[in-house]
Symmetry: D2
């Protein structure tokens, strides 16, 4: 991957040059808004025009397709649902790489298969551009509050420029290694998160059935070796904590379908590298079952509800 030092410094110095943003969904929209708040002019596009209205009202320039955005911005962030979308937006007939300018910094914050990130990086390099994968952790809440964690993979010399830009949307921007390692870190985090959440739900359920008060049990777990983010920051049992989806009938948050998707990516990576992931594999199956049983739209902490007896039994 070429390193264009002249372009790098010009990106650093002219930091308020327009930033392209492609993909204005639940995550992309608040992320782009935070860019605007930090004084970056934003040039954006999305396949759904109605997703663009809010950004437009806030001052972003809306164009028709990724190629047009690439024509106007030398830093572009993409935030898309899955690998096929990323391939289309970068490599498609109206894709970024059709008009990308030499030295452009391309940051993909979608969560996709690391091998696709590596493909895009190779394709970008052919056009003289630089590609980095920078998937996020934290969900819609953290996106709104500009408190996302970005896990970045790519050429290390470009990290400074990326960090500056991503810093307006996140609280942590971490360099992980070559292209694809950002995805790897994200996938690993979410596999461990899923295991922790299901484990917490099973444990809380068992404790309740053994006569423990849920709030007390959570308190004990959180001062002991059982503690994890799911028990101390996002407890799945209604009444244990406020301000989390379990306190709001599992609305909002990070949906079961999205978690199942990320676990599918983890499973694919494990299969491809011949790595045994017994709990990770089972966690994937559990979330897959929940999608089929009516929990698709609920926050992933609804696994607690899934394990409990249905009303009337």
């Amino acid at each position: 991957m070429t390193n264009d030092k002249v372009m790098t410094s010009s990106r650093s110095m002219a930091s308020k040059t327009p930033v392209g943003f492609i993909g204005l969904g639940n995550m992309g929209s608040p992320m782009a808004k935070n860019l605007l708040k930090h004084g970056y002019p934003v040039i954006a596009t999305d396949v759904f025009p109605e997703s663009c209205k809010e950004l437009q009202d806030l001052g972003a320039q809306i164009l028709d397709c990724p190629a047009e955005v690439a024509d106007k911005a030398d830093r572009i962030i993409t935030m898309l649902p899955s690998s096929p979308n990323v391939i289309e937006v970068y490599n498609g007939p109206n894709g970024i790489l059709k008009k990308v300018k030499k030295g452009t910094l391309l940051i993909d914050s979608s969560t996709i298969d690391p091998s696709v990130s590596k493909e895009m990086a190779v394709a970008a390099e052919k056009m003289g551009a630089v590609f980095m994968d920078a998937p996020v952790s934290g969900g819609v809440g953290a996106a709104n509050l500009a408190k996302l964690t970005f896990m970045v993979g790519g050429v290390e010399e470009e990290f400074t420029a990326a960090k500056e830009l991503l810093g307006s949307m996140g609280a942590n921007v971490v360099y992980c290694g070559p292209v694809g390692t950002g995805q790897a870190a994200k996938i690993c985090n979410n596999m461990l998160l899923a295991i922790g959440m299901i484990g917490t739900a099973e444990t809380m359920n068992l404790g309740i059935r053994l006569g423990l008060d849920p709030k007390l049990l959570a308190k004990i777990l959180n001062m002991s070796s059982g503690r994890c983010w799911s028990s101390d920051t996002y407890n799945p049992v209604p009444g244990v904590m406020e301000g989390v989806p379990s306190a709001n009938n599992y609305q909002g948050g990070f949906g079961t379908t999205l978690m199942a998707k990320d676990l599918g990516l983890a499973q694919d990576s494990a299969t491809n590298t011949k790595t045994p992931v017994l709990l990770g594999s089972l966690a994937h199956q559990i979330y897959r079952m929940m999608c089929a049983r009516g929990y698709a739209g609920k926050d992933f902490s609804s696994v607690f509800q899934f394990l409990r007896e249905e009303e009337g039994q």
Copy 2:
């Protein structure tokens, strides 16, 4: 369960009266030593005389059997490997209840089936004594440093006296509810701990095989939603942290056999209460397999090693 207020206050006021201690193994020995350090005269016994020598040298009085200890102390702590041992020490021919004095406070810190704790409590009440279950969390390290967490179940009015005594051996003494809920809390904590440890081992292994540096991956997990005690305090990957068993070829710590035992108790409780525990169940099976495959004597974090390729492959 009767509440003997006169005896309670006399226990509080005469806090330096002798304390009985039965079970001087890996955990019991340092626990009894901390009692001595805090100025309590200790009257102890163990089925293995050699286990008693160290305590004797430190000033404890060693007697021949639990009944004799019960004859001399009105507060007794037991720390035994499993339910049959507890039943024998309390109810056996030379057991505590043969000579226990009215109003004695009996604290069992063994980790056993909650239903056995309830049985012992009923038997103790018949003799006019008070029984509490107070299993611990923290392992041999915390036992040595008097930093154990005690999870206490029993009559609430007795908790103050128990707390005073246990406070010389632990940093946290938590009241959990009626007899048996201390065991419930301990079992729940260890089930979630096992899930977190296996999850961390799988995740670290996957990340390493995807090209991530282990220390960096651990750092990322620990600042993100994947964090748990196993990743941030007891990481199973050699080289990530110092002062934990993974840095010492998995020696010491909390053995695989003990974890398998605790997970068996969790499974029994889940089966008896018809509670689904998918990950907890699988975690139990994994540790059971590790016992059969040569990992019985290693710290439970050796699951990382178990998942990795054997040398020469």
Copy 3:
């Protein structure tokens, strides 16, 4: 266990002496009817008087409690839901052992923990009676058609007498070894059955989603190495076979609750013998979850329905 040869031969020769039958539920009722059909006078009892009416109309003598039955019959069969029921019927205040006559043959066809069978055998021996465990396989259908399989544990010299009696209710009567091994064989069979049924349901579902016709897929599995009883005799997919619960909205058959109970017994046995049972353990958890999610009363092959998308998705 004593062997009363005189009594054995008298049982063989006087084969039409009354047979006691305790427990006239879904299984016990048809079993007792088959004894009557074979010319055995039946003396029966059940905690629910209404369960006794049908047998009474067919000529059985109904008494008030197990002890009274024991007073009148020197061969008794028990068919009860679980360990506590067995303990009560044998050892309770009005139990069999209160009035059992020396040399009585006691055959328990309940499916319970093997260790409880062994306890009952010891208690029976003290009263000079002989106890055998003889749990069944085949369900209500086989019970009606006298085609059950009995798996018998106990003293080998008593097997001939037992086989003669059980042969009027079953097509297969197999000697398994000492007391408790009948239960062991039953538990093992049902664990493998559950694994095969869930495996078949997952496989059929996957094949259907990959474009295979269900009947064709079943045919292929059944001529290949994937075949098992669940795929070739009790297929869980509606439309593949007739005369099985999947063809009748999963009514009848062998209920999910009963399968969950048997899998709990298997899990207990595995835990007690420190045997790893990864798939067996997970099968238990799956059926436990199905009980909580509305499938308790359906045939255990309804796991196929449980795995499929709910209507309207």
Copy 4:
């Protein structure tokens, strides 16, 4: 997909025209030999020249690459280890499609991802050829004895010609549906086989530890609802059956590595179709772990050995 009826009938009538065979490994070699036995002239190639010697001695014509074979034969069978090999042999620089003649029948008996089969079918059609997937079941033993089961996907009109050819190598040739459904059937069969084998190993192990004689237990399972191919035809416990790998220290047969590969394909298909496969997923993880723990080269029934205690424990 075009249907070339003229070519079809010429293939049927001129059935002893040369048949191309690409891939002469453990399976391909005996398969090609059976073609020769049935009087078909064979034109073959393999990346490893030494694999070709035996066939050459038996009268096959050995060429240098797939393209050359395609130039000489209008029916070609391929038997390769995995998707990348198939893509190379069909689409590579010296691949079949470089020289394939219009109307050629291409039968791929490799076990690969169904989506790759579909890609090859599309590519073949562009060249006027017909592609069918026809993976096999039965292993090396059945390959030698010409008793394989072929599961065929593709245009139904071509099935007759395929069946005639494959019938010299197999006992069952089954039409499954459009291209890809042959792979689907194979993948499904092997997933259910793996579940049955692990289930049988766990069950036999549990029964033995509960005091049952292995041969008796197998006999009971095989007459009951627990029976499956793994228990009645390929029992994994040494001493239960002769002529199977468990009677020969798990040599030969169907290797753990191959089973892990097939289960990876099943997992990928399940993930791609969002199908929950809880036991199938865990079976994959178990075989993956066995590969890492020294069982890679053993027959897949060695899972019984993997679950048992190591020598000296």
